[in-house]
Symmetry: C2
Subunit: 363 residues, 2 copies
């Protein structure tokens, strides 16, 4: 066996047992409790001792064992991000990534980890449920919930704080004061888009909606109707948030109302499909038909022919907001705590983030 001498450096042998509070205490000639105090901020420890302990910590390269800490504090410093989207759009859109980035930034600023869980089938629901109930995380961020989704119930049952991404659409969800969500102003954004088309003097403004079992699609359609309350129903066609679906809807609209001179597509992806169909039909954009999208996904909107006028939503900010909202519930001793975070005090409330029109060439 090679040298037994303890190498008091932070770059010690990986195989060596990790230093513990105990070993730091020994080296510094103090008790475990004192080391613990120093490690956790050092309140109420004499300066001289503090420094001695600090030095021992550094020399040994001590890092607290989180499992042990969690065991007693019941705090994990970890938050679950649950994405309930079976292999669909979330994974082809930059949406997902931007959301995660926002969440990640906010979370790590508060020194919390992000545990990512994807739900694709029934079996996954059970796995996630077990995990959430298992007390491994301090809270959860729930994404893209579908109809009456079991996730919020599960979380609530085990007393796990959570925040939902996107307005939940099932009956009763809206009046559920405990169901805190973050969503962008889909309805307002749609109003912006359609208002813009009308201000361009367009008289027959059609819309391609998303799948109407999703609140975002519903809200955007409502925004369209806010501006055009007496619109012809023939000017409304349902898509599915994909380019293909957008194209099909566009063809339908063209058949029903050949005189249309504007289209509001409820997503950039659908707008790109619509543009292709318009091109094939020999309509010029924006001269013959003005087109506005929604999302401002740069990789689409900026690269269609012509570039797309669209409604921008700040996805990353939504992610941050969700995380902030959740953290507030975790840190605070109650709902009434921590004002001045940009969030209203007085109980957690759902938040709607603003949208704005980005003008490019298509309208």
């Amino acid at each position: 066996m090679p040298e037994q001498t303890p190498r008091p450096t932070a770059e010690a042998d990986p195989a060596a047992p990790r230093p513990t509070l105990e070993s730091v205490a020994e080296r510094a000639g103090v008790s475990r409790a004192t080391v613990s105090r120093v490690v956790n901020g050092g309140a109420g420890v004499r300066e001289a001792l503090r420094e001695k302990v600090q030095r021992a910590v550094e020399e040994l390269g001590y890092l607290p064992n989180l499992a042990a800490r969690t065991l007693v504090t019941r705090r994990n410093h970890a938050v679950a991000v649950v994405v309930a989207e079976p292999g669909s759009r979330l994974f082809s859109d930059p949406f997902f990534a931007q959301h995660l980035r926002g969440i990640g930034r906010e979370l790590s600023a508060a020194d919390n980890q992000m545990v990512l869980m994807m739900v694709e089938d029934q079996h996954d629901y059970e796995r996630v449920g077990r995990y959430l109930a298992g007390g491994h995380v301090d809270g959860a961020l729930l994404f893209s919930l579908h109809q009456p989704d079991p996730l919020p119930q599960m979380a609530r049952k085990v007393g796990l704080p959570f925040v939902v991404g996107g307005r939940p659409g099932w009956p009763g969800a809206e009046s559920d004061r405990q169901l805190v969500y973050v969503d962008s102003d889909n309805r307002g954004g749609a109003r912006l888009a359609v208002g813009h088309l009308r201000s361009l003097g367009r008289g027959a403004i059609a819309t391609i909606t998303g799948p109407l079992d999703q609140t975002s699609a519903l809200d955007r359609l409502d925004g369209y109707r806010d501006v055009l309350p007496d619109g012809d129903p023939a000017l409304v066609a349902e898509g599915d948030f994909t380019p293909d679906g957008g194209g099909r809807a566009m063809a339908e609209l063209l058949a029903r109302r050949p005189d249309l001179d504007a289209v509001f597509a409820a997503s950039d992806a659908m707008a790109s499909g619509a543009l292709r169909v318009l091109r094939e039909a020999g309509r010029r954009v924006p001269e013959d038909v003005a087109v506005v999208g929604f999302d401002d996904v740069e990789s689409i909107a900026d690269w269609t022919e012509p570039p797309l006028t669209t409604v921008r939503q700040d996805i990353e900010e939504m992610g941050r907001l969700m995380a902030r909202l959740l953290l507030r519930r975790l840190d605070g001793t109650g709902p009434a705590s921590v004002p001045a975070t940009g969030l209203r005090a007085g109980g957690p409330t759902s938040v709607i983030t603003p949208t704005r029109l980005v003008r490019r060439a298509s309208a």
Copy 2:
């Protein structure tokens, strides 16, 4: 205070203390050790007792406390996924999401959690380093490492198993037998693309490369040169994996070699920029200039005008592979274990996943 009666159901009051091994043992009339055995597979426990314990577990809705378990087993059942990409491409490409999906699927199949960490600045490196050293995860998946990246060193120093995504490019990395990575066959894919263009009878085949400090860009350029060893250097222009960069590079190429009749762009995003510039220059695609991209990002390749012939790589599979490779190192008692996973036994080795040509209209 309302009823004190313990409600022996799994849907108990969230505020109630969670059942422990102890309480299950008491209810079943056995010792903690026995319950532990049953919970962990129940080997060596008489059937009668097993059932009794099982029932108690269900009645109480018992779930083991992972922190306590980790404290003694030193296993976290969690893997860190570290993404070192400052706000760039990873977040606008569907890449990232697909990778995560592959990783997530593989990981949860083995009942491991995924802890996602994003590195954007120096401060983040420290945070992540601390975390990896802290023993909170059993292994790490390292992504998009830049030049001599400190992450692998950090992981190695603390003895944390890890697998890298994408071939590391710094000096010595290649000969480092411990540095296991997964990458797609960039070079082979490029050969496919350029070979296809040549088989079309094109004589002046240009290429738009990615940023040449990334191995993926380098490897794709090498593939181009494999097919065209005596190519004119004027036919090579450097882009940056963005549409704009692709457009600029295309303009450059057009200026240098107005006679070019084909372009291999090392990413679909760059290809889309190139297509726009070609259109503006009045060149028809594919009649005048044939174009091939790389990546097969559907939201781009399928929706350019004309749709893009490109090289497909199976990103999700890469993710799965990385996870599998890592898990093998964790479970196995040594590198020689667990064959029959589709991975060679006899020590962890880097893996290159195949690419293939997807023909659409642009070439």
